[in-house]
């Protein structure tokens, strides 16, 4: 990569204002990282536009000069999707952070891409509405980033993920044209579904500058319970029984034995440390319906051999129980500083088998690995921790994850359920998609981005 010419920086300044163009080494350093461990790439410049017009002008300039552009929201992604691995400019969209509209009549909201997921959810809640996607990073992550990675969350089974709520987008093509895809309609089949194509495209096809999301009425009540099992296989039986009985719970999360141990060590919540697995289950909706599903889920857990069940009596204790799941990341990250959090996903009935395989792989490579995740949708978070200087552990972790990805694929699963491919998992993408689909991805990419400037090195480039 040739460093950017002074005249190029001048043109960027003319577009976005001198204060919003960064180029000195110290100014670029913070943008060399996102939330992905062990990945770092220093861009040649950072530009933070405030309007769609500025974004279009920047992209046009970049296409004209062949300069790579990497869009970035809050930089909370875990797959190095927002790192400028080919240099060029990081396009920071955090200044575009206005909530333009929340409509209770139409059940939708219109926001700029830099609005945080939590801010959108809070604005919806003030209008008595629910924005269901709730990725673990929702307090940090931006809606634009959520759309670009099709972020998931804890409510996936019942409510789906980000793509299920994106009604329309305004997006700028790398060549500078501003598109409006979809809109305010739940039904609209005019043309290819470009909205869905851009959702999860990791900033490789266009830059999202406005998002219209669908909202739901806020459920009046929610409750949570915890069930302990001797083994993950027993917990898996309970999950199958719950869903087989016609219940679609809002919450169905599991922790393996190592997670329970780490969480208990960190937060002393009074969890059963002897248990082999913990299942957190819950539902939301009308009071009577929730009481009924909670009773039936508890019965299914007991029938599957649960060794103990705790039911929250009110919202406060619900929060206490949910803390067991929320504490996973802090607890595991305190075991050792490098915390590699992955997100392979397998069909729901194969969770126990996959976790057993992960344990076996981790043992063979001598790495510390704990697994928690979304039992409802088969999305697992095997987490390997090690010390920064420990090269042997680092190599072991890399080998272990390679085997874990292949094992997930063998069980008809995928290499990533909600974090995205980014630069970190790009080597495994073709194993998941096959050569023909990879070729199609490249043709799609070329159709959107003839100069190949948008987030090069990711997905279809």
């Amino acid at each position: 990569m040739v460093p950017l010419a002074a005249s190029f920086l001048d043109r960027l300044r003319a577009i976005a204002g001198a204060d919003h163009v960064l180029w000195r080494p110290g100014d670029l350093e913070p943008y060399a990282r996102d939330a992905t461990p062990l990945h770092r790439a220093v861009p040649d410049a950072v530009v933070a536009p405030a309007t769609t017009g500025e974004v279009a002008a920047i992209l046009k300039l970049a296409t004209e000069t062949g300069t790579p552009v990497t869009p970035r929201g809050a930089g909370s992604n875990l797959a190095a999707a927002t790192l400028a691995e080919h240099g060029g400019i990081v396009l920071s969209l955090t200044r575009m952070n206005r909530i333009k509209e929340v409509s209770g009549d139409e059940l939708l909201a219109v926001v700029e891409p830099g609005v945080s997921t939590a801010a959108l959810a809070a604005a919806a809640a003030r209008a008595g509405l629910l924005y269901p996607p709730d990725p673990g990073s929702r307090t940090v992550s931006t809606v634009g980033g959520n759309v670009a990675t099709c972020a998931g969350g804890l409510r996936g089974l019942k409510y789906g993920v980000t793509r299920n709520y994106v009604l329309g987008l305004e997006a700028v093509l790398p060549t500078g044209e501003v598109l409006r895809t979809g809109g305010r309609l739940w039904k609209d089949v005019a043309g290819y579904d470009i909205t869905r194509l851009l959702t999860g495209s990791e900033g490789t096809l266009a830059v999202i500058t406005e998002v219209t999301v669908g909202l739901l009425p806020m459920p009046p009540t929610s409750r949570t319970g915890i069930a302990y099992f001797d083994s993950l296989a027993d917990a898996g039986t309970a999950v199958t029984a719950i869903i087989g009985s016609g219940i679609l719970p809002a919450t169905l999360e599991f922790l393996d034995q190592r997670c329970i141990e780490a969480v208990e060590q960190y937060a002393q919540l009074g969890l059963d440390r002897e248990a082999g697995a913990l299942l957190l289950y819950g539902d939301d909706g009308a009071e009577d319906a929730v009481r009924d599903t909670m009773t039936r889920m508890a019965a299914a857990c007991t029938a599957a051999g649960a060794r103990g069940i705790e039911l929250a009596q009110d919202v406060t204790t619900s929060e206490d129980l949910l803390a067991a799941r929320r504490c996973c990341l802090p607890a595991l990250s305190r075991l050792a500083p490098i915390t590699m959090l992955e997100d392979v996903t397998v069909p729901r009935p194969r969770i126990a088998e996959m976790v057993a395989t992960i344990e076996d792989i981790a043992a063979r490579h001598g790495v510390v690995c704990a697994t928690f995740g979304h039992a409802g949708d088969g999305n697992l978070h095997p987490t390997i921790v090690f010390d920064p200087g420990d090269e042997a552990a680092r190599a072991g972790a890399e080998r272990a994850f390679d085997e874990i990805f292949h094992a997930a694929l063998k069980l008809d699963g995928t290499i990533t359920g909600e974090h995205g491919v980014g630069a970190a998992k790009r080597p495994w993408l073709e194993h998941r998609l096959g050569a023909d689909q990879m070729a199609l991805l490249r043709r799609l990419k070329a159709a959107f981005d003839p100069a190949g400037i948008l987030n090069p090195g990711k997905l279809g480039s």
Binding site: G26, P30, S137, V140
Partner: protein, 351 residues
Amino acid sequence: MTINVFDPQSLDKCISCGFCLPACPTYALTQDERSSPRGRITLMRALQDGRLAEDDPTLREQSSFCLGCRACEPVCPAGVPYGELLEQWRDHQWQGRRVPLKALVLRIGLRLRAALALGGRLRRAAPTTGAAAPDAPHLMLGCAERVLFPNVSRSARKLVDGVDVPAGQGCCGALHAHNGDSATGRRLALRLGDAMPGQIVTTSGGCAAHLVAHLGRDRVSELSEFVSDSWIRFRRLDVRVALQDSCHLRNGLGTARAPRDLLRQVADYVELPSAGACCGAAGTYSILRPKDAARVLAPKLDEIEAAGLDYLVVVNPGCQRQLIAGLRARRSAVRVIHLAELLAMAAHPES
């Protein structure tokens, strides 16, 4: 080339997750990764690893732009001791001629015990009672507080039964530690600990957190913690009040409930949405960077005025000075009062 500016174990703890971004007041102002806690830790790492020159302008600017409010600590999943790292950063960044002149003047001025004692006497802060009594709780007068707000220590003295006010107390050193001289900060804290052996009661959240770091948790109580454990009976005042937390009391020591519980006992208490967020005083920040301090404060002033308050209650002298100045500039009718002063009104109707 690695240089040892930071304790490597503390620096290693950051997992770069970014959970600190929404908690950071300077990130809220800029939406710029450079002025977020994670961005600053990335800068610290670049300094430690020799990737950035020691005189890099971004290092200089960001080490100074940070308020040091430590709001990033309670939200950090990995337990990064950001406040400690910031002290180490400023120790290095503000060495020799790189120290801002105002910081240097403060660092030297606050070390002078005789000047503080004279200031306290002239301003009629709570009078000292000679050498420290062995079993009594000791009231700390502070350096800025006894001169700027002498009524605070007088009020506190009425609230804490049998408290003594040892003579010869100096500054606790918090302001030195926050301004690039943590060695003096530590020395002053230990000297104050020697002058007041046993239990120390302070009316300043910032001093409390600094003293705890050097003397231990069991020797130091902030006033609300101490009064919460006592048997004082209060009458209710017919006033509507809100609290401005002290950042280091809340984020450093985790004390947020005690002052609220007391306020609910004595007044009509309302929680401001930004009660736990920095007011921009940030120790000496409002002196060193008055414009940025005002930008941090502005949205809070809107909130305070909209809440229909009689009093805004503070638990730290820096916040008191900052909020008085901010509200006065707006000709607001809301008065700023220290918790000790409000409690003294409720405990002693005649005052």
